[in-house]
């Protein structure tokens, strides 16, 4: 079993099959008839994508037409229930997830949709790095309180925000127990090209003054069968992402069954007792790959300052 779990993604053949399988499954879910004719495309990273012609047309329109129609952004990807698993034993606060996320969503440096906390549960237990993103709860306290349906829960499990609907009341921010959401307190500093991008709740770009935003699990990437950016950016393979219905998650290197991973590593959800039912699981930081001090290595003074209250002994 161990052997079969080895790296394979770099191999072209497999990579081709990955995305092709993903896409055609998605097509079937969408109820779109395959034209039968396959087209092969080379993705940016030199991997092969094989797609049906029928999909090509759809895809070309996707950003401008379909995603712009709110209904698609609101309904989610049929037949999916996305889930993330974060392996705390592998995190050394490399912050690659943070910067990748900022790059992907054109966020300024001081705005983090995803950040890494240094947790220490009590005096005796050892501190550990804790990447925290939106948990996309199944019983989301933020969605409950939104007065205008600007933040919503989709059937595929994602909690998204429509910043063209948001009235900026910030109730959701007060309601979120995990302090996940951020607000645009002033006009976001974006280039004209970014401002001109067609907005969709799935891309969350461009940010808008006076509205709320947060981690969205990159549904625009996911729709294309690609992993969210934080997942691929992490050098340690901390993040696993996948579909709960398929019972599989992958960190880009290895693909494992969700149920087995959670069982073997005693996965848990953060603050389960709040009843929010997060869609993010954590694997406890046992058998660590790095000493916790490693996480301070490449930090700026400002970033080190954040963790000053945590007693490292």
């Amino acid at each position: 079993m161990n052997k079969s779990r080895r790296e394979f993604v770099k191999k072209g053949a497999v990579a081709g099959a990955i995305t092709a399988a993903g896409v055609s499954a998605w097509l079937k879910d969408q109820g779109i008839k395959e034209a039968g004719e396959k087209v092969k495309l080379l993705s940016q990273d030199g991997q092969l994508i094989e797609v049906d012609k029928a999909f090509l047309k759809l895809h070309a329109q996707a950003n401008s037409e379909i995603l712009a129609k709110n209904t698609m952004g609101r309904e989610g990807i049929p037949g999916r229930k996305f889930v993330m698993v974060v392996d705390l034993s592998k995190c050394n606060n490399a912050r690659k997830c943070v910067t990748a996320c900022q790059k992907m969503h054109y966020l300024p440096e001081d705005k983090e949709w995803l950040n890494v906390k240094l947790m220490k549960d009590n005096e005796q237990s050892a501190p550990y790095w804790f990447p925290k993103m939106c948990f996309h709860c199944d019983n989301p306290p933020c969605v409950k309180v939104c007065p205008v349906d600007a933040t919503f829960k989709r059937a595929d499990g994602l909690v998204l925000i429509d910043n063209q609907r948001c009235i900026g009341c910030k109730f959701c921010m007060a309601a979120c127990p995990y302090s996940t959401r951020v607000f645009n307190w002033d006009e976001p500093d974006l280039s004209q090209e970014v401002k001109d991008l067609p907005y969709s709740p799935e891309t969350s770009v461009p940010s808008q003054h006076g509205t709320v935003e947060k981690c969205d699990f990159c549904p625009d990437m996911v729709r294309k069968g690609k992993l969210p950016d934080c997942v691929t950016a992490c050098p340690n393979g901390v993040f696993y992402f996948g579909d709960e219905i398929e019972d599989a998650v992958t960190n880009g290197d290895e693909t494992v069954r969700l149920s087995e991973l959670l069982r073997d590593r005693a996965g848990y959800r953060f603050m389960e007792d709040l009843g929010t039912k997060p869609r993010v699981y954590y694997l406890p930081p046992t058998g660590r790959m790095f000493p916790v001090e490693r996480g301070f290595k490449d930090l700026t003074e400002e970033q080190k300052e954040r963790y000053k209250d945590v007693n490292l002994d």
Binding site: A17, K40, D45, T255
Partner: protein, 288 residues
Amino acid sequence: MLNLSKTSVLMVFATVMSFTGHAQVAAEASLTYNKLKDNNVLLRAVLTDAQESEPLANIELGFYSIQDTISTSLGKAISNEEGVAVLQGLSFESLLQKQDHTFIIAVEVLDENYQLTSREFTFSDVNMQLSFDEIDSVKQIVVTISTWDELGNLVPLEEADAYLYVPRMFSLLPIGDVYTDEEGQGMLEFPTDLPGDLNGGLEIIAQIEDHDEFGNVAVSESVNWGAPVTYETSKLPRALWSPDAPLWMWITFIVLMVGVWFHYGWVLINLRRIKYHSSDSELINYED
């Protein structure tokens, strides 16, 4: 400067030094041959600097199929940042094969500033088949691998590794591997609880990986062995977190609102009636 690639005659491999004065950089290429599950072929070359092993980006490469002295151009591709050039959409039939199902593929740099040293790769075709056995609810996948001898006869391939996967949304989920016996067969028990689609259907992919002789070869087969999944349609239930409020909330809300506004209405009607019942006298009746 001679550009040999424009002639489709095999003269390629004579090293030609540049006469323009600047030295050529020596390049090195490796090639992965991938036979995808539908008999399409994908060629993936990695081009590096021979000295420093740095990837060479933005270089055009030509791919050729070679038999005896005949070279057929298969196509061209440009290397990316990682030095990877991919040629895809080839049909397996377009490769020229010998009787024993071996074939040669050559790679050439189409850039005058580079000189390619490593260039010619030989692969053999392999025949892989998947079959499914179900005995007493134990589900077994049987992988049969065979290859060809010099005379062109199919013979079982012993001691070969094949890996089995089930495609999931973002990647392939490994379900195990097989090692072939003297009949070229390997068996794997399929897990009982792996989710399939609505009817339990799923695809199984078997792959020979990174084999020196066979490259990467994949075959796939669909089977109804998955656990059928059920999932909610896009209609969300009435809930606090969905667009539709629970019914009791609507009922309470409507009862409250009707109750209050009914009384407001009543009072407003009374006000109208006060006006209606006004007397003509200019004076107010101060008596009780």
